[in-house]
């Protein structure tokens, strides 16, 4: 599905990441965590094709159009309605207007925004705007969804609700996900595997954790599983170690 081998990335000649290898299988949900400044976002931008690697390779088992992105800023067009925003990607792909708007409306409903299609972004709450942005991406039926702290601007409850809906949809559609987050609990609750990046510069993958909880999964309920606590503790310790390692 996605295979990254021996990747080195940087701005100019200064390497941010070096020798990074990872993979995402079909239908798999993978998270990328690490100390701040480890280059998580840089790595995601490179996979998205927004940044050219210094060396190494990124192999996709699917065309570029099947990549979906959801980044931290909700960049909805303020002069277009929720429905028009959700349809934007489809329109760019050459869908006829009416068909694109119909499909967009269906995705808005799936994300719990039925009846809000005619609203402009300023008439929606922060959580609803995120849902429109999500509908915009999912309407393109991506095979791999790249997300960089997509919901970090939302409060805890909204965030929980939207991630639950997201998980339901990606599980249902069989979409692979690569999520960058600083929230270890979120990473464990959602993922099948978690990668831990080491401290930069020249950050690489320090560790990899399989997450054993079955799917479909309730991202809230799973937190009461005793293994969840054990895993979370290990993740915390390793993260601390990685951060200390660089400091000494």
């Amino acid at each position: 599905m996605l295979e990254v081998r021996n990747l080195a990335l940087g701005y100019g000649k200064v390497p941010v990441l070096a020798g990074v290898s990872l993979h995402v299988a079909a239908g798999e949900f993978v998270s990328l965590v690490g100390p701040s400044g480890s280059g998580k976002s840089t790595l995601l931008r490179a996979i998205a094709g927004l940044l050219k690697p210094l060396s190494g390779e990124i192999r996709r088992g699917f065309p570029k159009e099947a990549l979906g992105f959801l980044f931290q800023e909700d960049a909805l067009l303020p002069w277009r309605t929720a429905r028009q925003n959700a349809a934007l990607g489809l329109r760019i792909r050459g869908w006829p207007r009416e068909k694109a708007l119909g499909e967009a409306e269906a995705w808005l409903s799936r994300l719990g925004l039925q009846g809000l299609g005619d609203r402009f972004p300023h008439e929606l709450s922060g959580g609803q705007r995120k849902r429109v942005a999500l509908a915009q991406v999912l309407a393109l039926r991506p095979r791999l969804l790249l997300m960089d702290e997509p919901f970090s601007s939302l409060d805890a409850i909204l965030r929980m609700e939207i991630t639950r809906d997201l998980l339901r949809l990606v599980e249902g559609e069989g979409i692979s996900v690569l999520l960058v987050t600083h929230d270890l609990e979120e990473a464990l609750a959602l993922s099948d595997r978690v990668y831990l990046l080491s401290q930069g510069p020249r950050a690489r993958i320090a560790k990899e954790y399989p997450v054993p909880f079955p799917r479909p999964r309730d991202p809230v309920g799973v937190r009461s599983d005793p293994r969840f606590g054990t895993l979370l503790k290990r993740l915390w310790q390793d993260l601390e170690e990685v951060a200390l390692c660089a400091a000494s």
């Binding site: 159009e65 992105f69 960049a75 067009l77 002069w79 277009r80 934007l88 402009f120 915009q136």
Partner: protein, 249 residues
């Protein structure tokens, strides 16, 4: 509504003052006489060539000024070469009172319509240039990146990001541009003309005809208000996505 009442009250006060003989009707003729003069002027038919001259100069200047200013603004925003060439000239033109160019235009283009259109155009074009140029620089880069990551090229960017974003900037300048266009036309006629409201105004001045002056002023005000009204409708339609259209408008 209160504003309309305010204007109406002021007119009533004026009417009352001249009726009571407190102001000299030669200098400040009462509103109803101004209206009658205006009506007589329009009804006699001698008004039309003058109206036609001024309005065509102002509207042509407005139209071409918006087109030229907008096109140059876009070019400057997307090409640093054009920006470097144009910006100093535009800044200079922006800094001076552009009406001082009027005599020059008369020398170059004669006392006909062309010199008035030119003045009007220069007044408007510089204003619109800066509105468009500034507008493009203020486009939200996150929106540009979003459309790009969705696979959109230049055409989509222009249509979905740049033009709507510019509309907000340019629309608020348009009303000022209307005023500028008429300033250009009328000042051009002051300087040298054989027709037009500016020409009539300077004629009214030389014959101490305050009534005619006021009637002509009223006529221009009414027409500009009408254009404002049209632009406001346009603005409200185009900017309905904004939290509130209002304040400065």
């Amino acid at each position: 509504m209160r504003r309309v009442l305010g204007v109406f009250g002021l007119l009533l006060l004026w009417e009352g003052l001249s009726a009571s003989g407190l102001v000299n009707p030669l200098y400040a003729p009462p509103p109803h006489e101004v209206l009658l003069t205006l009506w007589g002027f329009l009804a006699s038919g001698e008004a039309w060539p003058h109206l036609q001259a001024t309005f065509s100069a102002a509207l042509l200047g407005l139209f071409w000024g918006i087109l030229l200013g907008g096109a140059l603004g876009l070019l400057a925003a997307f090409s640093s070469l054009v920006a470097d060439l144009l910006e100093p000239v535009m800044l200079l033109l922006n800094a001076i009172p552009r009406v001082i160019l009027a005599p020059l235009f008369v020398i170059w283009l004669g006392i006909g319509l062309a010199s008035k259109v030119a003045l009007s155009l220069v007044l408007v074009a510089v204003l619109i240039f800066f509105a468009v140029y500034g507008g493009v620089r203020n486009v939200d880069p996150r929106l540009v990146e979003r459309v790009r990551t969705l696979g959109g090229g230049s055409l989509w960017l222009l249509r979905e990001v740049y033009l709507p974003s510019l509309a907000a900037w340019v629309l608020s300048s348009l009303k000022v541009a209307v005023g500028f266009a008429f300033t250009g036309a009328v000042v051009g006629e002051f300087v040298a003309a054989s027709r037009g409201l500016g020409y009539l105004l300077s004629f009214a001045q030389s014959t101490y005809n305050a009534k005619l002056s006021l009637a002509l002023i009223a006529l221009i005000v009414l027409f500009v208000l009408f254009l404002f009204f049209l632009f406001e409708r346009l603005e409200r339609h185009l900017l309905r996505w904004r939290p509130q259209v209002g304040g400065q408008g």
